[in-house]
């Protein structure tokens, strides 16, 4: 179940919400991500996982799945990319790891 790992105390949950709610912070995140992450009260594990786009790790650390998908959109963009599965693809690739190719093959053609 996707909620098994969820931890409401994981600060990345709050970071994603602040990024959604604060346009200025969002702009800073786009331009100087490392700076924003350094200032935010995150664990090193969280900072590393975000920096490496390791969505699977963030999921295991307890990031809420909605916020996980929103983080992917924050990083990979929305707007003109809406409806393409850029952000969703990156997310699934991370979550499924080695299983990704097999999974996509079983769905495709």
């Amino acid at each position: 179940m996707a909620l098994d790992f969820f931890d409401p105390l994981l600060r990345t949950n709050d970071l994603v919400q602040d990024l959604k709610w604060d346009e200025a912070l969002r702009a800073r995140f786009e331009n100087s991500e490392e700076e924003v992450l350094a200032e935010y009260p995150l664990t090193e594990e969280e900072r590393t996982a975000i920096g490496q786009r390791d969505f699977k790790r963030l999921y295991e650390l307890g990031l809420h799945p909605y916020l996980l998908s929103q983080l992917a959109r924050l990083i990979y963009g929305t707007g003109e990319k809406a409806g393409t599965s850029g952000a969703a693809t990156a997310l699934i690739q991370s979550l499924l790891g080695d299983e990704y190719e097999k999974y996509m093959a079983s769905r495709g053609a």
Binding site: M1, A2, L3, F6, P8, L9, N13, D14, Q17, K20, W21, E23, R26, H64, P65, Y66, L67, L68, S69, Q70, A72, R73, T78, G79, E80, A82, G83, S85, A88, L91, I92, L95, L96, R107
Partner: protein, 288 residues
């Protein structure tokens, strides 16, 4: 006293406004027709106040302090929230609110075991309101709206029984505490099967969706409560399918009534099963 004038439920996935044209034309038509039927139902029923009950996508509160039901008491509701605009691609909207009605219903809801709160400021609306507002062109109907944002995904989530009971409380409050000539409608917003942010993000469980809609049309609420459980919804797509709990709230408020399927489409690019229903209400017996 007041009467429940219309009862509806529909999916709100952002693809419906953000990328409708990625779907086959038949499916686009199915969706637009269902939402046109919703618009007509709101107008023909002469509904004064429409409760839109839909899940909050953690847009309005920290996950560590998360209410189960949030009543929107604002005088006007503006949306969509800034961050969602490029994604949803809907026109900005402003809808009249109904603070007095919202306050009475909020107070009644405080008697339920769920965690409820009321917010006077404008809430942040994403697809939960923006999609039905846009596709059913609610602004042109002149109806006042009370948003009731629901927790469907931050544990502990009120299950199908708790949501149905919550609906019963709302229904009773509408019928006994609101002015006699007021016509109050209910629209459940959310579902059907999807798993946002999870490993099955790209999947739709069409079998579950059609089964669920058939169950609603069959009309045995006890059966729905026993079989369409929170766990069953999670199995069909975790974190997303449980938005159907808003439909359970509507069902609790109106009791067993004939239900019509307004249409269903399973389009991969929308990453969510899309369907809608309408319950037929007998104006002479708007209560249990």
């Amino acid at each position: 006293m007041a009467e429940i004038s219309v009862a509806l439920a529909a999916s709100h996935t952002p693809g419906l406004t953000g990328w409708l044209d990625k779907a086959p034309e038949d499916d686009q038509r199915t969706v637009l027709q269902a939402y046109a039927a919703i618009h007509d139902a709101v107008v023909e029923s002469e509904t004064d106040v429409l409760l839109i009950i839909g899940n909050d996508h953690v847009a309005n509160a920290r996950v560590s302090e998360y209410a189960d039901f949030t009543f929107g008491l604002a005088e006007r509701h503006e949306g969509p929230d800034e961050w969602f605009k490029p994604w949803l691609r809907v026109e900005d909207y402003v809808l009249p609110g109904a603070p007095d009605v919202a306050e009475i219903l909020h107070r009644a809801a405080e008697a339920t075991p769920t965690r409820v709160r009321a917010v006077r400021e404008n809430l942040r609306f994403d697809d939960n309101l923006s999609v039905p507002v846009t596709l059913a062109d609610l602004a042109s109907t002149g109806v006042a709206v009370v948003p009731v944002l629901q927790n469907c995904t931050v544990p502990p989530v009120p299950d199908q029984q708790a949501c149905y009971s919550f609906g019963q409380t709302l229904g009773d409050a509408i019928r006994t505490q609101l002015p006699a000539d007021l016509r109050v409608g209910l629209l459940g917003s959310g579902g059907l099967s999807h798993e946002p942010g999870g490993p099955r993000y790209l999947e739709i469980d069409e079998k579950f969706d059609r089964w669920f809609l058939d169950l609603l049309v069959e009309g045995d609420h006890q059966r729905v409560l026993t079989e369409a459980t929170f766990e069953r919804m999670e199995e069909a797509g975790s974190g997303g399918t449980a938005e159907l709990l808003s439909w359970l709230v509507v069902m609790g408020a109106i009791g067993e009534r004939p239900c019509t399927n307004l249409g269903y489409a399973a389009v991969d690019q929308w990453r969510c099963g899309v369907g809608a229903v309408q319950w037929q209400l007998d104006p002479a017996r708007a209560g249990q």
